[in-house]
Amino acid sequence: MKNWEFIAKASGVEIPAPELQRISQTLDALEATFRRLVGDLEVSLEPATVFHAEEDAGDHSGSR
């Protein structure tokens, strides 16, 4: 599990200790779900940093 206090300190992000403790629990839960997804991404998979919802949407066409 990540050390959020260390990450905050290393990044120069100042968060009061009680608030940091509260958000650490939420981040731990998110990290647990997210990290397992990242494992086997193919290198050819590019980030959707330019996002067009109508691309790669299958062969549906028009309204019924």
């Binding site: 959020w4 990450i7 905050a8 990044s11 992000v13 968060i15 608030e19 940091l20 509260r22 958000i23 939420t26 981040l27 998110l30 779900t33 997210f34 997804l37 990242v38 991404l41 998979l45 590019e46 980030p47 959707a48 940093t49 996002f51 067009h52 919802a53 109508e54 691309e55 790669d56 949407a57 299958g58 062969d59 549906h60 309204s63 019924r64």
Partner: protein, 463 residues
């Protein structure tokens, strides 16, 4: 007084009412109810009456701008309105007066709609309760002890309470569909890029969607038709041709394959919510739809990806202001702090996962034409409730409430929320109809057929 946009438009053309009369009645209603509901931050009464008089003159002179001409509406207070304060529900912008209109405001103005003012919202659109620490907590017209949802809570409340005929909202992780569900209105989150984001305060650039709330499916479609379409000022704006989406009277969904998602969407639901949504699916089948069980990709994973993207983009946007922590409500600050601790690598991986999930989800549309699922797992919680008890476990309200909607922001798919029942306690239950990209006409048609066929609730009781 007319209830829907169509009724009001017909009444105007039949000279049963004037736009000035509709606007005056709306202003009186706002005056009477806003202290209790806190739906509006700014009411533009003088400008509204002037606009209404102009609409009456134009209609009398034969210049008809279409079904929104002379109709009282309002917009969430993150849409720029020239010369009118635009706060985004935040102390940061409490005195900000834009010098230009948002694209949706321009288009609504061109359609002749009468702008009544700016609607209250969750601070910076970054939450789902609309308990705004700076401008007051918005209340649910169905029961003022309960939340209207958010972040477009003022929009949901104003439409449900009959203050306006339609309102504009924004939806980054459910913020149109949640208030629609909690307030018993219709709310449309269109396909990503379908409605211009120009002139709207962003929350997360790649997740923000702009859309209407209204009292009927056709009302939402009418507003959508006025605002949709390419805008070169929005880098994500789609060039896909705009089509008319208002469903015809007597339209059918015979043969439409309505997907009934197994698993995720029907786990951990309030019993009244599950019963109402299943009832709506049964009604859809009796109205001619082919209801087909369908397995979706891992929506828990899609939701997690959405949270990473949102956390990173929102914190990046707010970074210049984060040295002044006192400007933010505690809940928004907690989210902004979380985003600051995620890495660039996390963000990039989330966007790669997003593309993969988009590709996987495309296979669903080979099996079905649309999906019907609950919009929210529960009805509106009480104001101030941070956790709710569901299926024997204590759940965080925010994470629970966004669970069923956030994934469609990640995928950019159109999703229409509409009421489908009331709980035993008399609170609205909402479902969502989700379609392939750019298929707003289909989801609206399915919604209209269901609404015509009796899926819905009575109007909100008069306060």
């Amino acid at each position: 007084m007319p209830v829907t946009i169509r009724e009001a438009a017909d009444a105007l053309r039949a000279r049963q009412f004037s736009s000035v009369e509709l606007t005056t009645a709306a202003l009186a209603r706002i005056e009477r109810l806003n202290a209790a509901l806190r739906a509006f931050i700014t009411v533009t009464a003088e400008a509204a009456l002037k606009k209404a008089a102009q609409a009456d003159a134009e209609l009398a002179g034969g210049r008809d701008r279409g079904p929104l001409h002379g109709i009282p509406i309002a917009v969430k207070d993150l849409f720029f309105t020239r010369g009118v304060r635009t706060t985004a529900g935040s102390l940061l912008y409490r005195d900000f007066v834009p010098d230009h209109d948002a694209a949706v405001v321009e288009r609504l103005e061109r359609a002749g709609a009468v702008m009544m003012g700016k609607l209250n919202m969750h601070e910076l659109a970054y939450g789902i309760t609309s308990e705004n620490p700076h401008f007051g907590a918005v209340r649910n017209p169905w029961n003022v002890e309960h939340s209207p949802g958010g972040s477009s809570g003022g929009s949901g409340a104003a439409v449900a309470a009959g203050m306006v005929y339609a309102a504009m909202g924004s939806d980054t992780g459910g913020s149109i569909r949640i208030p629609a569900s909690f307030c018993g209105t219709v709310g449309l989150k269109p396909t990503y890029g379908r409605v211009s984001r120009y002139g709207a305060f962003p929350l997360a650039w790649s997740l923000d969607h702009m859309g209407p709330l209204a009292r009927s499916v056709r009302g939402a479609a009418t507003v959508f038709d006025a605002i949709a379409g390419y805008d070169r000022r929005d880098a994500a704006s789609s060039r896909h041709p705009a089509v008319e989406t208002v469903p015809e009277v007597g339209c059918s969904m015979r043969g439409v394959r309505v997907g009934f998602p197994q698993g995720f969407f029907f786990e951990r639901l309030d019993a009244d919510v599950e019963s109402s949504v299943r009832g709506a699916l049964a009604r859809a089948e009796s109205l001619g739809a082919a209801v087909v069980p369908v397995r979706l990709p891992d929506m828990e994973a899609v939701t997690a990806v959405g949270r990473v993207i949102l956390l990173c983009e929102a914190s990046a946007m707010m970074e210049p202001h984060l040295d002044n922590r006192g400007q933010f409500g505690a809940d928004v600050l907690a989210l902004l702090d979380q985003g600051r601790l995620l890495s660039a690598t996390d963000y990039i991986q989330a966007q790669r996962l997003r593309r993969k999930m988009q590709q996987e989800f495309a296979a669903v549309w080979r099996q079905v034409d649309c999906l019907v699922a609950p919009a929210t797992p529960t009805a509106a919680p009480r104001v101030g409730e941070n956790t709710v008890r569901l299926a024997g476990r204590e759940e965080d309200v925010r994470i629970l409430t966004t669970r069923l909607v956030r994934g469609f922001n990640v995928l950019g798919l159109p999703s229409l929320a509409m009421p489908c029942g009331l709980t035993a306690a008399g609170l609205p239950v909402g479902l969502q109809i989700v379609g392939p990209p750019m298929e707003e006409a289909l989801v609206l048609r399915v919604g209209a057929v269901m609404e015509d066929g009796g899926v819905g609730i009575p109007p909100c009781p008069t306060l």
